[in-house]
């Protein structure tokens, strides 16, 4: 029942289109079931001289238009009726195809958008822990599985069931005995088919896995080509790949064998059913129990049940898959997104930041920040120094509201951080991450990204500040150069500088560099900081770095160790104390003499 609810949720908004698609299916099926009746009528009553025995009041209709005689003298009527019925059948068939596509595609589009939106809104923590490949599979192939089910399988299944009902209701009044003969073998085929495909799922999955293993071996070989060559291991690799290649082939051949038995076997039963209809019908016709037209009609009707019901069996074998996929999709949608809009917005942000006894832990009992307090004046530059795992990145995460602190207070211009909406905070704080991610589009688009930067000149200015403008101009296509997978390969420093430009272009009161200046050399680092200062004196800047030259120029330096502030003060103040900072400074500044 939960599954059904999921399906309804999927179809939500396209329900009406889907229902019209179903209605089209029903009408189409009605008309397709009429054609054999016309043939029977023509053969038995028009050409032959049996009395008219059409169901659904058609016999009376014929009386009214002048009886069988008038049809005999106007034979074109039969032609017109046959073509007209087919046109109607075709029209509804078209509507069915079109409407079910509209319903399924609209639902899928909505579901894709919803998934994408949801993923964007999920908390940072989710993305840190998530398995990218698995999520992508849920968003793509699982959606496709459900879409196929909605667009084709479910509609076809309804069509088949309805077709069987209509056909049976035409056949039974004509001859119950003959009807039973015409369907006697069908249940066997149906059950065999359902069971066969349920069992096949296992071997299908095995084969997919074998293919995956084979592809992985190929990929490893190609990416590790230097290792393969350097160890002269080609022959070994060939044998290894052949083993996987062969395993994949053997599994496929196993499927082929099973399939051959299945299709051969069920074909036999289905064709026997046909033969049975023909043989018994003919025998009864010689005894005058049924008419010739009935044999013809029943032969066609049997065909309208035998093969589709085998198809239905196949669909039912696969149906479980669609529901498994639905479940996997809803698992993503069920995870709680972060509240993006709740809280204050549109309040002016100047850039004064105060941490007051802040406590934070990812896992219970393992504090990452353990009572941190400090103050950052508006417009000042603060540098943070700390070892890996000291908590400096967590500090930035908190400020950005990627995580929420458990104890203490963080205020911006006196307003408690957790009262301000995430949206507003992130619009007012710019952060350059340690490992920048560039989007696969032009450099220009990468810097301009978002809707905030409208002015073209802003983009160039940001690039100049990030010391990347000249390098970009040197590229063949300049700012139009595409980066990312399908574009040029940029060096780490270039990527980092584009990321800096992108953040700078946002023109925000608070800027954070999360160890992001270390990928550029010392000189460029200093140039960038200089340019930033020149642009705006009011920007509050937080820089995480190991570079003493960078640290020394900050207004204030925070040394963080094991979740606590170990030292705090200006460069001069800190070197007058005997602490970590002084030790590092001494090592680095004495280098000149030491190495010579």
């Amino acid at each position: 029942m939960k599954k059904f609810r999921l399906l309804m949720q999927y179809l939500h908004g396209s329900g009406r289109t889907y229902i019209f698609a179903i209605i089209s299916v029903l009408l189409m099926t009605v008309f397709s079931a009429l054609s054999p009746l016309i043939i029977k009528f023509t053969v038995d009553s028009v050409i032959g001289d049996n009395p008219v025995d059409l169901p659904f009041g058609f016999d009376r209709l014929i009386e009214q238009i002048g009886g069988i005689e008038s049809i005999r003298s106007n034979l074109w009527v039969i032609f017109v009726v046959i073509v007209a019925i087919t046109v109607l059948q075709g029209t509804f068939m078209f509507l069915k195809g079109k409407l079910s596509a509209v319903a399924a595609q609209t639902s899928s589009k909505r579901m894709r958008d919803r998934l994408y939106n949801h993923l964007m809104r999920l908390p940072f923590d989710y993305h840190v822990k998530a398995q990218t490949g698995d999520i992508i599979q849920r968003c793509t192939s699982d959606i496709e599985t459900v879409q196929n089910f909605v667009e084709r399988q479910s509609v076809d299944a309804i069509q088949i069931i309805f077709q069987v009902i209509i056909v049976l209701s035409i056949m039974i009044p004509i001859s119950l005995k003959y009807t039973l003969i015409s369907i006697v073998l069908i249940p066997i085929v149906f059950v065999i088919t359902v069971r066969f495909f349920i069992n096949m799922m296992k071997i299908f999955i095995q084969t997919d896995e074998a293919e995956g293993v084979m592809s992985a071996a190929l990929q490893e070989n190609l990416t590790g080509v230097r290792v393969v060559k350097a160890f002269g291991a080609q022959k070994f690799e060939i044998e290894k790949f052949d083993e996987k290649n062969d395993k994949y082939r053997k599994l496929n051949l196993k499927i082929v064998k099973l399939m051959a038995d299945f299709w051969g076997g069920t074909d036999l039963i289905c064709m026997l059913q046909h033969a049975l209809v023909l043989i018994v019908g003919t025998y009864w016709a010689t005894q005058d129990i049924i008419s010739i037209g009935t044999i013809i009609a029943f032969s066609i009707y049997a065909g309208m049940m035998v093969w589709p019901l085998r198809g239905l069996g196949q669909m039912m074998g696969f149906m479980g898959q669609a529901f498994v996929s639905l479940g996997r999709i809803s698992e993503i949608l069920d995870s709680q997104p972060e509240d993006y809009h709740k809280g204050l917005k549109d309040i002016p942000i100047q850039g004064e930041i105060v941490f007051d006894d802040v406590y934070f832990e990812y896992e219970k009992g393992k504090p990452v920040l353990d009572g941190i307090s400090f103050r950052i004046e508006k417009g000042s530059t603060v540098a943070i120094l700390g070892a890996t795992g000291s908590g400096k990145s967590s500090l930035v995460h908190l400020l950005f509201r990627l995580y929420d602190y458990q104890k203490g207070h963080i205020t911006i211009d006196g307003v408690e951080l957790s009262d301000i909406s995430r949206e507003w905070i992130r619009k007012n704080i710019g952060i350059v991450l340690q490992e920048p991610f560039l989007f696969s589009r032009s450099i220009y688009e990468n810097i301009r990204i978002g809707d905030d930067v409208k002015d073209e000149e802003k983009v160039y200015e940001a690039a100049r500040i990030a010391s990347i403008h000249d390098s970009i101009e040197e590229f063949e296509s300049g700012y139009k150069t595409i980066v990312g997978e399908r574009g040029v390969t940029l060096s780490g420093g270039q990527r980092q500088r584009i990321a800096i430009a992108r953040t700078v272009a946002k023109d925000v009161p608070i800027l954070i560099f999360d160890d992001s200046l270390s990928a550029v050399d010392t000189e460029t680092d200093s140039q960038i900081r200089q340019a930033l200062k020149e642009r705006s004196k009011d920007t509050t800047t937080i820089i995480i770095s190991h570079r003493i030259t960078t640290l020394a120029e900050a207004d204030k330096i925070l040394v963080i160790d094991k979740g606590k502030i170990a030292e705090e003060g200006s460069h001069e103040e800190l070197i007058s104390r005997n602490g970590i900072y002084k030790r590092i400074w001494e090592i680095q500044s004495s280098l000149g003499e030491d190495i010579a």
């Binding site: 050409i47 046959i82 075709g90 589009k109 994408y116 062969d246 044999i295 991450l433």
Partner: protein, 607 residues
């Protein structure tokens, strides 16, 4: 070479197909039998309506049972025969479908092992993967199922036409009059349908890429607060997909109704004309039945034929790409003289191999890649056996090229490289390769166990050898701490191990194969201090007594090298040991001090 995906080929190139027929050759028997089976299948399919005709005309109309039981036996016999034939046909086609891709994959993989590093460097891995997966699969399907559909549809069309003409020329012409329309419409629609299908696949992969970007870039998207912007862009993509697929579905939904309409015209005409003639005994009941079935039955083979015809164009494109791969000229091979003396590349006669001492000389070496200018020009360098050379310089300076040439991953464009006094082109490739110990900055492990990875360069190594190698490089302890020790699976490309662990294993692997020459492309990525010490120690053991090239980043490594070469634009601009170069106060001095500042900053906390 260009890697743009050409979707389908406009012209039909017989040469390409002939090249592929080589792969079909081992299955000549199966394919011929398959064709015969299709003739029989089509024949029986066409005969079934005739069975109806006989049943009605001979027995039902005449109220006679003369020969009825024989008739039944024949009908049942045909049914059993047809089902048996279907089963054998599937077995046969399935065998061809899966065996040909297996063969091509095997041949292509062998080819790839022979091809030079240069080829692998300029060919994206994804391109090769696609050739050996989807393209090869398509070839298999074409040489089996498309072939089946093709022959079945042609035979069925021909046989049905003949049957109709034999049964009644007049009605045959009536039914056949709609066939040209059927064929033209099917050709047009099948082409559109298949092209739309391919385009939908392309759009779909764009959506996948969109999801991928959204997920891997989630952190950045949050940091820039551009969720709304990204969503809008994504929505454009999904809207395009939706509009296109709905349009495509609309077009393909018209196809079957049109075909049914044509069929109904034929059926209607038969009924109309026959009604008038049956009284005159010009046509029997059975004949009406036959013709009304044929009018409907014609649709399927025509549709199949049109489909296969369109599919062939795509297969042609796949075939061209696969042939490109298989026909790639190998630019680094053993010379005929070498082959004559030492045997084929992978079966080189190791007993004949000379000992590898390790003197290496670059003599007037000029090198350029296929495209672009010279990377090295008249480069000269002499290295004594056992010497450790550190290469220092910026990205693109040519240090990797020097190592690639020394390893014979590439060969000089001009000039020569001598190993132990002889141009290495006069030695077997495998001899050079087998004497290289190679450790990459991103250590490349293969899926499999730790044991298998260490033994990679020496398959016949005993467990004792493996443990000894691991102990030398300080890997033994952490390996024993793994869940299953040496039998622990390392995961795809070693994903279950840390970078430091992977490096230690790759050192063990290099040591076990006991190479005469050692190459290290050193990592810039930092590992924790303790592992760092282990790696340094392993490194020294690996280098001992071997000619070594190190593309160096760590100061301690650089400092301990016998000779440091500072490379800039393909030239050695500074050369000497650490002390000499520091005194020079040149490029090396600057580089060294900068580097030291970085390293000290990080290490101060851990001191």
């Amino acid at each position: 070479m260009h890697f743009e995906e050409q979707e389908y080929s406009k012209r039909f190139d017989l040469e390409t197909f002939k090249r592929l027929l080589v792969f079909a050759k081992p299955y000549k028997k199966e394919i011929i039998v398959l064709i015969i089976q299709m003739v029989l299948l089509a024949l029986v399919d066409a005969v079934f309506p005739k069975l109806n005709q006989y049943a009605i005309d001979l027995f039902a109309v005449n109220h006679s049972l003369d020969g009825f039981w024989i008739y039944c036996l024949i009908a049942l016999g045909l049914v059993v025969f047809q089902a048996a034939n279907v089963r054998l046909m599937i077995l046969n086609a399935g065998k061809v479908e899966n065996s040909i891709p297996y063969d091509i994959r095997k041949a292509a993989f062998n080819k790839l092992q022979e091809l030079s590093i240069a080829y692998c460097d300029r060919t994206p891995v994804g391109w090769i993967m696609a050739r050996l997966t989807s393209d090869v699969k398509r070839l298999g399907v074409t040489l089996s199922w498309h072939l089946v559909d093709f022959f079945w549809s042609i035979f069925l069309i021909v046989i049905m036409t003949v049957m109709m003409l034999i049964t009644h020329v007049g009605y045959a012409l009536l039914v056949l009059s709609v066939v040209p329309f059927l064929v033209i419409i099917s050709m047009i629609f099948q082409k559109i349908i298949l092209h739309n299908f391919r385009k939908a696949r392309r759009l779909n992969s764009q959506i996948t890429a969109g999801f991928n970007e959204g997920i891997t870039g989630a952190k950045t998207i949050k940091s820039l607060s551009i969720e709304g912007h990204m969503l809008n862009e994504f929505k454009d993509l999904t809207s395009e997909m939706k509009n296109f697929t709905v349009k495509a579905a609309t077009i393909s939904s018209i196809y079957t109704p049109i075909i049914l309409f044509l069929g109904s015209i034929a059926t209607g005409l038969v009924l109309w004309k026959s009604g008038a003639q049956i009284g005159e005994n010009a046509i029997s009941y059975g004949t009406i039945v036959v013709f009304s079935s044929y009018a409907v039955q014609f649709f399927e083979p025509v549709k199949q034929f049109a489909r296969v015809f369109t599919e062939l164009q795509y297969t042609q494109a796949s075939a061209e790409r696969v042939v490109t791969l298989l026909d790639t000229e190998n630019d680094i091979v053993d010379s005929p003289e070498v082959t004559e003396r030492f045997g084929q590349m992978f079966d080189s006669n190791r007993e004949e191999w000379p000992k590898f001492v390790g003197d290496i000389e670059f003599r007037n070496v000029t090198f350029r890649y296929k495209e672009g200018g010279n990377i090295l020009e008249n480069f000269n360098l002499k290295i004594k056996a056992g010497e450790t050379i550190a290469l220092v310089g910026e990205t693109g300076s040519g240090k990797t090229t020097i190592v690639n040439l020394a390893c014979r991953f590439y060969e000089p464009t001009e000039g020569s490289i001598l190993i132990d006094g002889l141009d290495y082109r006069e030695r077997p490739l495998l001899w050079v390769y087998s004497n290289i110990g190679y450790v990459l900055q991103e250590p490349h492990l293969f899926s499999g166990t730790v044991k298998e990875n260490i033994a990679y360069g020496r398959q016949n190594a005993t467990m004792e050898d493996i443990i000894e190698a691991a102990k030398i490089v300080n890997a033994h302890d952490f390996i024993m701490n793994l869940e299953k020790g040496y039998d622990t699976e390392v995961g795809e490309r070693g994903s279950r191990l840390s970078t430091g662990q992977k490096q230690l294993i790759s050192f063990a692997r290099a040591i076990l194969s006991d190479p005469g020459m050692f190459v290290l492309d050193e990592a810039t990525s930092s590992v924790d201090t303790e592992t760092e010490h282990l790696i340094q120690d392993a490194l020294h053991k690996a280098l001992a007594g071997r000619t070594s090239f190190i593309i160096a980043h760590r100061l301690s490594t650089i400092r301990s090298a016998d000779r440091i070469l500072v490379i800039d634009k393909g030239r050695i601009i500074e050369e000497g040991n650490h002390k000499q170069l520091i005194r020079k106060k040149g490029y090396y001095y600057r580089l060294y001090t900068n580097q030291l500042i970085e390293e000290q900053g990080k290490m101060a906390f851990e001191a």
